[in-house]
């Protein structure tokens, strides 16, 4: 009996011993102690958060979402800036940004909750700046949600599970107004705490201010232009902001934009007054100068760790790289016509016909653009313009009829039919049959970069995209996942445009307090001067918000911003109401080798219709299943 007793005691004692030391931290998981004890650790934590930041850059498309290398169905072909063979109409995002956002917000909240325990390891100034930076990241993420969905659940602490009840994770949506107010207050914290300078690719005080001007301008536009309303049972307005709040938000946008003045400026390193060539070169270089005083917040790439394929997808056909692709983005004539320096009809459309209704004839395709605004050449490759040391040849076909007495339009104005086959030589694809001209020289019917009537791997509109293309990249290197130019997410020109728009809205709302109209006038003219565009002569010229909207569409075109602008102005459903975009096709006249341009609606009949319910996107249904208190947006 005694033996059994001893054995039992011994056994129990062993068991007690065995249980004491089980709480060993797993060695394969990085602990707070590893991260929050050195500046390097903090930097790594930030690197992860920045890599997840929802920046719609070279790796974004509405069809495939963020951080996706395969950028066909490009964003500009959704807005009407361009047409693309892989994007055949209007759309809303098909990859919905929600879960990743709350993952990133959790990381920010965890950082803000944990850092105070480790402050003794760091310089107090650094700690303040990091807290500000984390608030910037959170505001950026919330803004990405707000511009998509309106009001969203606001989570400011790390949600605990399974230590807390499951129901505590089901956070309902806040009103759209409260969501924007939360973004504003996070950005105010960021502006107050962030240092004046930071590593490239990270936000500083002025990046936060610049971003605030963007976010508040959106909020003001929603308050002013939105017509949709959605309330939940607790009287929160999930979609829509009361219109009397518009002035408050425009004022906040204006003040934030003013804060950036003097710390950043427009890029003018290669600019010269009155010199269109210099202004063109300057505008091209702006996107490639890492020391540009215009770059407020950027996302960097570096081969081979972090890469994209912007050039591979977008070079003109004749510059195609070894692995294929090219010409995904063909700017529309609607976009090109916004620019100055083109011969125009009284209604603002390009003048391709003479007074008698016959085609104007040109010696070469660049003649019609001889006086074009330098910014246009830097944004769009015009037919016959130089790129990578070669003339980009865009030609739809050869006209073999007589030019005596002038050539009448090939198809009636506004027609959507195909071109006739009489008197025209065309090419179906890139393997062309050369045509012998009357003077016995031979030439391919279509240009080396298009336009072919069947194969769509070419310019679809008579134009090709120029902005952000790296002219120094050798053709052999024009490959997917091989490019690493920097994405400029916020540049000073946008801040000026935010400021001008906010100021003009304040002016039209009858606000005094500053010379808002005069301010908007100066801002717009700064942007126009650098672009080489025609200047406004007096503040009174600025008599319509459309002037500021147009300037924004020209300056920020192809930078993945325009869709959101057209949405916040609530004009996209009007603009894309069973719409066909226009193209301009160069033809050569066989008889005298001159060129004419045919202006027509998109030959491929890509009709665009924006559904008004897309102003507020659909909240992913699986998120509603997980969190039943989320109320869906109207119409879904």
């Amino acid at each position: 009996m005694k033996i059994i007793k001893y054995l039992t005691i011994l056994f129990l004692a062993c068991a007690i011993n065995a249980c004491t030391k089980l709480e060993v931290a797993p060695t394969n998981i990085i602990q707070d102690n590893d991260v929050f004890t050195s500046t390097g650790g903090i930097q790594i934590y930030f690197a992860r958060m920045y890599s997840e930041l929802p920046i719609e850059d070279f790796r974004y498309s509405p069809a495939r979402g963020l951080n996706m290398f395969w950028i066909i169905s490009p964003f500009p072909a959704v807005t009407g800036e361009a047409l693309s063979r892989d994007q055949r109409g209007a759309m809303t995002e098909s990859v919905l940004y929600w879960g990743d956002a709350y993952g990133l917000i959790r990381e920010v909240n965890y950082f803000l909750q944990t850092l105070p325990k480790y402050v003794s390891n760091f310089d107090a100034g650094d700690v303040q700046s990091w807290i500000g930076e984390a608030h910037f990241i959170r505001a950026f993420t919330y803004f990405s949600l707000a511009k998509r969905y309106g009001g969203v659940p606001i989570v400011t602490n790390v949600l605990e599970y399974p230590t807390k009840e499951l129901s505590s994770l089901d956070v309902p949506r806040s009103s759209e107004e409260k969501t924007y107010d939360f973004i504003a207050s996070d950005l105010d914290t960021a502006i107050a705490k962030l240092s004046e300078t930071n590593q490239q690719g990270r936000a500083n005080k002025y990046a936060a201010a610049a971003f605030k001007s963007r976010a508040m301008l959106y909020a003001g536009s929603i308050a002013k232009y939105n017509q949709v309303s959605l309330f939940d049972d607790s009287h929160n307005r999930l979609c829509g902001i009361p219109s009397d709040k518009a002035v408050t938000y425009f004022k906040a946008a204006y003040d934030a934009a003013v804060m950036v003045e003097g710390h950043y400026s427009l890029y003018k390193k290669a600019w010269a007054a009155g010199d269109k060539e210099a202004q063109y070169q300057n505008y091209v270089k702006m996107f490639f100068d890492n020391e540009s005083p215009e770059n407020i917040f950027v996302k960097q790439y570096l081969y081979p760790q972090s890469v994209h394929g912007y050039d591979a997808y977008n070079v003109p056909r004749q510059c195609m790289g070894p692995n294929g692709y090219s010409s995904e983005v063909s700017p529309t004539l609607n976009f090109v016509e916004m620019f100055d320096g083109l011969p125009k009809n009284p209604d603002g459309t390009i003048q391709n016909l003479d007074a008698t209704g016959k085609y104007k004839l040109f010696d070469n395709t660049m003649d019609i653009f001889s006086n074009a605004e330098p910014r246009l050449r830097a944004t769009v490759i015009l037919p016959g313009d130089m790129f990578k040391g070669q003339s980009i040849e865009i030609r739809r076909g050869i006209y073999t009829g007589s030019s005596a007495g002038g050539i009448s339009p090939l198809i009636p104005a506004g027609a959507t039919i195909q071109y006739p086959t009489t008197n025209l030589v065309q090419s179906a694809n890139g393997s062309q049959q050369a045509y012998t001209l009357p003077d016995n020289t031979t030439i391919n019917p279509a240009g080396a970069s298009g336009t072919f009537f069947a194969d769509e791997t070419c310019s679809q509109t008579g134009f090709s995209i120029r902005k952000y293309l790296d002219e120094s990249l050798p053709q052999s290197q024009v490959k997917e996942n091989n490019e690493d130019q920097t994405w400029i997410e916020i540049r000073y020109a946008e801040v000026l445009l935010n400021r001008a728009e906010a100021a003009f809205e304040l002016y039209t709302a009858g606000q005094s307090g500053a010379d808002y109209l005069g301010d908007a006038f100066t801002d717009i003219n700064q942007v126009r001067e650098r672009a080489g565009a025609d200047l406004l002569t007096a503040p009174t010229d600025l008599n319509d918000i459309k002037i500021i909207q147009k300037e924004r569409r020209k300056e920020l075109g192809f930078e993945n911003k325009i869709w959101w602008d057209l949405k916040r102005w609530r004009i996209l459903d009007k603009e894309q109401n069973n719409a066909l975009y226009r193209v301009m096709m160069p033809f050569m006249v066989a008889e005298n080798k001159k060129y004419f341009f045919d202006v027509r609606k998109d030959e491929k009949n890509r009709y665009y219709s924006f559904d008004p319910k897309w102003y507020y996107e659909q909240i992913p249904t699986d998120e509603i299943n997980k969190s039943p208190s989320l109320k869906q947006n109207p119409g879904y």
Partner: protein, 266 residues
């Protein structure tokens, strides 16, 4: 030699047979575990009905799918704040769903008419015309009387022109006297399609006539007889289906329609 081969085959056969028996027994285990029937009865309630104009009692014409009228069911049998369930109406304004669970629901419809549930600026419900319906076994029929934003009606039958186009006459008027829902008329379109499903979601772009209006320009046409003609030369020896649709700038900007007329081109 022959015998040897046979034996070999027999050996193979017997191992194969064993494998087969094992296989069958595993399968039958699986079958046994799947044998249990679902513990819920099949959805056996049905809901049908129509959305009618409160004035004329005609059904409110709509389109199929996302841009048209839909029925909203909020099941309050077990939750005060349920996730709604929707199904779409047919294009003639009637609806029918025969696979619903027995349940108690608040039912409403959404479309191009004055909303059945309205809120004031502070989010208080000011109008609530939802119907609480006990869906029981068998069919239920409900009618919603609504005020369409616009009444779109034919004035005369479509006429086939000598140039192979079709001309129609229609009239668009306000369907509601409530000024809050009298937004500007933004579009009046003549839709045409080669199948009986026709509307803004489904039409032939080559022949349809779409006209949009800015600001209040379209309001001048209210109450007028409007003549609309298809564009382009219609191919003959077949039938075409037409209807006129119009919309205002209210909310999700959905269309009101006439009913559909069939025209056979010689």
């Amino acid at each position: 030699m022959l015998a040897l081969t046979t034996r070999k085959i027999n050996n193979k056969k017997s191992t194969n047979m064993k494998k087969f028996i094992y296989f069958i027994s595993i399968i039958s285990l699986g079958a046994a575990s799947c044998g249990k029937l679902d513990n819920y009865p099949m959805p056996n309630a049905a809901l049908s009905g129509r959305v009618v104009d409160a004035g004329s009692k005609n059904t409110v014409q709509t389109e199929t799918g996302g841009g048209g009228t839909r029925v909203k069911l909020e099941e309050i049998s077990w939750s005060d704040n349920p996730t709604p369930f929707y199904f779409y109406s047919m294009q003639d304004g009637t609806f029918n769903n025969t696979k619903l669970f027995v349940s108690t629901n608040k039912i409403s419809v959404e479309g191009a008419f004055v909303p059945l549930v309205q809120y004031d600026n502070s989010g208080n419900i000011t109008v609530d015309k939802r119907q609480t319906v006990d869906l029981r076994k068998g069919a239920q029929n409900i009618v919603f009387e609504v005020e369409p934003f616009l009444n779109v009606e034919w004035v005369s039958d479509p006429v086939i022109n000598t140039d192979s186009t079709i001309t129609v006459q229609a009239r668009v008027s306000r369907g509601t006297a409530n000024p809050d829902f009298q937004n500007d008329v933004s579009d009046i379109n003549l839709y045409i399609n080669s199948v009986p499903y026709v509307g803004n979601n489904n039409f032939d772009n080559r022949y349809a006539l779409t006209v949009s209006y800015n600001g209040s320009d379209g309001n001048a046409l209210l109450g007028q007889t409007i003549t609309l003609t298809t564009t382009g030369k219609l191919p003959g020896k077949r039938s075409w289906w037409l209807r006129v649709g119009a919309r205002t700038t209210y909310g999700l900007k959905q269309y009101n329609y006439t009913d559909i007329k069939k025209v056979t081109l010689p």
